[in-house]
Amino acid sequence: MTAQTPAEPADSELIKRIEERALFARLETVRLISIAKTGHYASGFSCAEILATLYYGVMRLRRGEPDWPDRDRFVFGKGHAAATLYPLLADWDFFEAAELDEYTRLGNAFGDHPDMTRIPGIDFSSGSLGHALSTGTGMALGGRLQRRPYTTFVLLGDGELHEGQVWEAALGAAHHRLGRLVAIVDRNDHSLDGRIDGVTGIEPLLDKWRAFGWQTHEVDGHDVPALLTLLRSLAQDTGRDRPAVVVANTVKGKGISYMESEFGWHLGWLAEQDEANALAELRGTR
């Protein structure tokens, strides 16, 4: 496959493929955390469909060419969910999938947060929350200044919106009329210390973005057909002169019953039998 053409209509086969890849990303997340003996299950699970839809149905990428200048960009604001992204980048032949077998081992390139200097296909390093919408803004500005046709996608956590710099970027991107910038908020309603509304409330979220000059959309972040239709339409709307935000309503820990909406699974590790049970539940065999 060379460049994907987002203009293709969503079809049931593609949707099935994306859903299957989201499951694969979850299974791999469990496997990688098992190697590290600690990691972010729940944050990865809430955005698995979003990542899979972007990488298999929306973004213009070239297999084995992570530095293709006209590729669509992706910045992972909630970089702590990197273990869910790495397997998808391996799928694009940006690196050997076997490299992930050494996940987090001493000197390995793959850690809990993505490192652009060591991992092909990571468009920008992240980890410190609140920077990603700015770095994505820079990529969108660079694309416009050099008349390159790509779209920049930034995936933000809802807890990340507590950081003031996000709103500096929201102001700046709207001021610069960056229509080729799409922010996606993974609204799983939880940050590390518990429910967002109990930590520091962020609602009404769509109104806030709208007031900052953004085009706003809301979607079920686990509904692949809906994600695919919406994100494709935003990528194809090249005449837009406002950045767009998609608030994706998700379930933290989605896919494993006891992890869903249980903030304790933001960070954790499953011992052997529990892991086997979790994998079985994900595969639907339990």
Binding site: S134, Q146, G172
Partner: protein, 331 residues
């Protein structure tokens, strides 16, 4: 730009202030020249284009100029992302807001990712005088020097700034420029060149070498001239690149002089004095070093010239400090 007719010639307003700051004119002009020459330069600031001279760049290259508003952290992260697309961003704001406010963005988004971003902290040190502690930057050398992979340059005057900007165009990795308010007396002729990482030696001194950076090079040279006239053997090193430090030049001075004195418009902790102390100690060179600068305190407010006098950072003050050292060193 001129002040409204009818006012006295001495009057000025924000837009005409730049006429008093040749160094900041050179900032905007040199970057515009680099863009003219085809370098992929993009320039931005955080609501300070009249204060730092970048309006002169905007006038010539409006399509390559970015206004960020008062959002320094966002500005630094944004140009880190911008640099990944092949452009060479130069962004400027007050040194206190660049190196202190946006410190983590510099570390995490610019330096750790090795992006060719050029950060310009202007009005560094105590140049903002009575504007107060929030606007003073006497920690920026210590902060930027400790960030891995970041080159730190403090040019002595207008010509050196232009030379440093030119030298930086193809320099690998990120650079922090530390400059003053653009009114430093000339040390070098227009068109001078400068090599990043190589100190400029102004004579050698068996009694004393003054190692100065940025705005302190000119007073150090004047002090050295006065001491030389009195029969002392005094040399001056213009340490325009604070990191990577020119170790060869420092060690040569340390071995060739009885005394060393660093001179910086910065806290003596962690800046040039700290860098020189670390080096000569590691090499076991038996020389006395005196670090001259702000001694671990918040500076007073006042007109800059008065502050320089108070902290012995003008030519007379550097000379006095050096005489004290020479006398103490002979006891």
């Amino acid at each position: 730009m001129s002040v409204a007719p009818g006012l006295q010639p001495e009057s000025w307003h924000l837009l005409s202030l730049l006429e008093q700051a040749p160094g900041l004119q050179a900032l905007g002009d040199t970057l515009a020249d680099l863009a003219d020459e085809g370098h992929p330069v993009v320039v931005g600031t955080a609501d300070l284009k009249y204060s730092n001279g970048l309006v002169r760049f905007q006038d010539r290259h409006p399509d390559k100029y970015l206004q960020f508003g008062i959002s320094e952290q966002h500005m630094v992260s944004t140009v880190a992302g911008l640099a990944t697309t092949g452009l060479r961003p130069y962004v400027a704001t007050f040194a206190s807001f660049m190196a202190l406010l946006a410190c983590e963005q510099i570390r995490t988004d610019v330096a750790y990712t090795r992006q060719p971003v050029r950060l310009i902290g202007h009005h560094a040190g105590i140049t903002l005088g009575f504007y107060g502690t929030s606007h003073h930057a006497t920690e920026d050398l210590a902060i930027t020097r400790s960030i891995a992979g970041l080159t730190v340059i403090a040019p002595a005057d207008t010509a050196a700034l232009a030379a440093a900007l030119r030298a930086s165009v193809d320099h690998p990795g990120p650079v922090y420029f530390r400059i003053g308010r653009g009114r430093d007396p000339d040390v070098y002729p227009a068109g001078t060149t400068l090599e990043i990482g190589k100190a400029i030696e102004h004579g050698t001194g068996s009694d004393l070498t003054l190692i100065a950076t940025g705005s302190m090079v000119h007073p150090a040279l004047e002090a050295a001239a006065a001491l030389t006239a009195d029969g002392y053997s005094v040399g001056v090193l213009d340490m325009h690149t604070v990191k990577p430090l020119d170790e060869t030049a420092v060690l040569k001075a340390a071995r060739g002089s009885r005394l060393l004195m660093t001179v910086e418009e910065h806290n003596v902790l962690g800046g040039l004095g700290g860098a020189v102390a670390e080096l000569i100690t590691e090499h076991g060179v038996p020389v006395r070093l005196h670090r001259h600068g702000i001694r671990d305190q918040y500076s007073l407010i006042g007109p800059p010239t008065h502050l320089y006098r108070h902290y012995r950072l003008d030519a007379a003050g550097v000379e006095t400090e050096a005489r004290d050292l020479l006398h103490a060193g002979t006891r």
